[in-house]
């Protein structure tokens, strides 16, 4: 991949992600003019211009990929326009950071075959615990077609961790539970054990999945083990010196250069 389109909804999460991504791509030697960043409003429904811009950007002879941080409802018209304008995953693959099984349920996925999504969990991952939870969820919602997705899995793990922390702290007082949380482990639904870190993030595997015709994802790439969540990006000048540590430092934004709590 030589050229990158970073398309997102105009709010903090896409802006943060794109900022980190841009810094990362530049550090990997991608030229500034080979990165196109594009923002659209919430619920944007007329993607004709943006999709045709992506197409133009992608047909300039270099391999192009799109990283989409488009949020929520705007995704359906976006993917419809992609499909109709004939942008196929073979030519310009789209990697989405916030499109999961639940979003695809509102879409005809046949034209989207091969587009990608990055998550810590996919419903299609074959694991006994995963199958059990999906079966429970579908029984609970009384809908055998109801999808399960990454944020739901996060809740499963989070609640399991909370229960263990409460048992350890022998109290439901929030402050005591927070102190008990780092170090707690709970099984995730993809065959691993997630652990709460001192920075209040947990370890999880990272998967890249490919859209299948049935609205599910096929895992095409995954990390070897579990990845530890960073509180602060290592790619950005403002935040690379910051760490979060609630166990020894008791600080969410400790600066390792100035040795002070309270940011850059």
């Amino acid at each position: 991949m030589k050229r990158w389109v970073l398309a997102g909804t105009d709010y903090v999460y896409p802006r943060t992600t794109n900022k980190i991504l841009e810094a990362y791509l530049l550090s990997k030697g991608v030229a500034k003019e080979d990165i196109m960043i594009n923002y659209a409003p919430f619920g944007h429904s007329d993607w004709q211009t943006i999709v045709s811009d992506i197409k133009k950007f992608g047909s300039a002879g270099k391999k192009t990929a799109v990283v989409s941080t488009i949020n929520g409802d705007a995704n359906v018209p976006f993917y419809k326009e992609l499909g109709n304008q004939g942008v196929s995953a073979k030519d310009i693959p789209v990697v989405a950071f916030s499109v999961g099984e639940e979003e695809l349920a509102g879409l005809d996925t046949k034209p989207l075959l091969g587009h990608l999504a990055a998550w810590n969990y996919f419903q299609s991952i074959s694991d006994p615990l995963n199958k059990e939870y999906i079966a429970k969820w579908q029984a609970f919602t009384k809908n055998p077609k109801r999808t399960f997705n990454d944020p739901m899995e996060a809740h499963v793990i989070g609640f399991a961790m909370w229960v263990k922390a409460v048992e350890k702290a022998k109290s439901v007082d929030p402050d005591k539970v927070i102190d008990a949380l780092p170090g707690i482990e709970a099984p995730n639904l993809t065959g691993g054990i997630s652990k709460m870190l001192p920075n209040h993030h947990i370890t999880k595997p990272v998967f890249i999945g490919e859209v299948r015709a049935d609205g599910q994802f096929d895992v095409v790439w995954k990390t070897d083990g579990l990845v530890a969540g960073d509180a602060w990006s290592k790619e950005l000048p403002g935040s690379k010196d910051l760490v979060g540590d609630w166990v020894t430092l008791k600080c969410g934004n400790y600066n390792t250069v100035t040795k002070k709590c309270g940011g850059a």
Partner: protein, 387 residues
């Protein structure tokens, strides 16, 4: 000079209203701060903040009633003035955070540091002073209303057309404030406030004081509105509401009257927003949403259009109902209830609660006096709905 209209404006209802205000100003903070939690009349802090929010909504309702109930201007964009006042206050509060933000920049708020803004934009200058912010709270909504009204009323945009373009105005502002490039924090808006005038916003005493300040502001706005509507000026407003062309042909400059009252109303809405923000702790672009402005109109309609106490009562009642019903089992049905309220009030209670009550009273009085005077002419009931 000033005392005249003020005294004239204080009839029995207004006196009762102001007495309630005075009582609330003293009693609720006192019950919150001075009584122990176990005391049966103790008012918990979250309720003080909640009541404070209702009071701010009541000021907004008053400002809408002033132009709709008395001058027939239905603005579907009053939430915009409310939010602008709120943003002005929010900018002051952001500047007060100083080095306590995540990035600890003494001048720039966190979101600007994050978005790599090299320096504070010019329009943020001065907001570190409360006095400047206070002026802006009145000036920004007032100026927008003045310019908007100047064009709209001079070219005689009336009725529904005005409603639609005010709605377009607030929609455009929603979109604008959502933009990160606009310099107001994008969809996250302004939040994470620490201090107001040197006091911690979260502190119990600050919350109680803010509540008291809101009620006092409500009382002041009420008195101003009373003074306006009971004056000769107010009579002309009602004349414009009921027959605009006729009033114009009688020689009154209709657009000047409308412009004055529209601007005044926008300033009041701005004050309401400014008091609202420190109490809820956040201001974001969703406050501009057209639906919010329409909802505010229904508060006035429920309470009684063209009655100032009605507007206040409507705002508090509807919001109390909203708080009650949107939490708990009935939450999925709240929109049904709100929707039904819109329909039923317009169909069966066009005068609103206070208006209907006054109408009944007037009819009873008329009947009584008619019986007494044996067939004397019955006067027109007061507080007829506009249009």
């Amino acid at each position: 000079m000033i005392a005249g209209p003020l005294i004239r404006s204080l009839d029995r209802g207004a006196t009762i209203f102001l007495t309630i205000c005075a009582a609330a100003t003293i009693l609720i903070p006192a019950l919150n701060l001075l009584t122990p939690e176990s005391f049966f009349l103790h008012v918990p802090t979250y309720l003080v903040a909640l009541f404070g929010k209702y009071v701010c909504y009541a000021i907004l309702a008053l400002s809408i009633d002033l132009i709709w109930g008395y001058c027939g201007i239905l603005s579907l964009g009053h939430g915009a003035f409310f939010a602008l006042g709120g943003y002005a206050m929010g900018m002051y509060l952001m500047r007060q955070i100083g080095t306590r933000g995540v990035y600890a920049d003494p001048i720039r708020p966190d979101f600007m540091v994050f978005l790599n803004w090299p320096e504070l934009p010019v329009y943020w200058y001065g907001f570190n002073y409360f006095a400047y912010a206070a002026v802006m709270i009145l000036l920004v909504p007032g100026l927008l209303a003045f310019v908007f009204g100047w064009f709209a009323f001079r070219s005689r945009v009336t009725g529904v057309y005005l409603s639609i373009i005010t709605q377009a105005m607030t929609f455009a502002l929603t979109l604008a404030f959502f933009r990160n490039n606009f310099g107001f924090g994008g969809n996250n808006g302004l939040t994470d406030f620490k201090d107001i005038l040197g006091f911690n916003v979260q502190a119990q005493a600050t919350r109680a004081s803010l509540f008291a300040a809101s009620v006092i502001a409500l009382a002041i706005c009420f008195v101003i509105c009373r003074a306006v509507v009971t004056s000769k000026f107010g009579k002309v407003l009602v004349a414009i509401r009921d027959a605009e062309s006729r009033t114009r042909f009688l020689g009154y400059r209709v657009e000047s009257y409308k412009l004055f009252v529209f601007t005044l109303s926008a300033c009041m809405a701005g004050v309401a927003g400014a008091l609202y923000v420190p109490q809820v702790g956040i201001i974001n672009p969703s406050e501009f949403a057209p639906a919010n402005s329409i909802e505010a109109v229904i508060w006035v309609a429920v309470g009684g259009r063209g009655t100032l106490t009605g507007a206040v009562l409507g705002a508090i009642l509807v919001n109390y109902a909203k708080t009650t019903f949107t939490s708990g089992m009935l939450a999925p049905y709240w929109l049904f209830m709100l929707g039904a309220m819109f329909v039923l009030v317009t169909l069966f209670l066009p005068r609103g609660i206070i208006g209907t009550w006054r109408h009944w009273n007037a009819e009873r009085q008329a009947k009584l006096s008619a019986a007494r005077e044996d067939g004397a002419a019955v006067g027109e009931p007061t507080a007829r709905p506009a249009e």
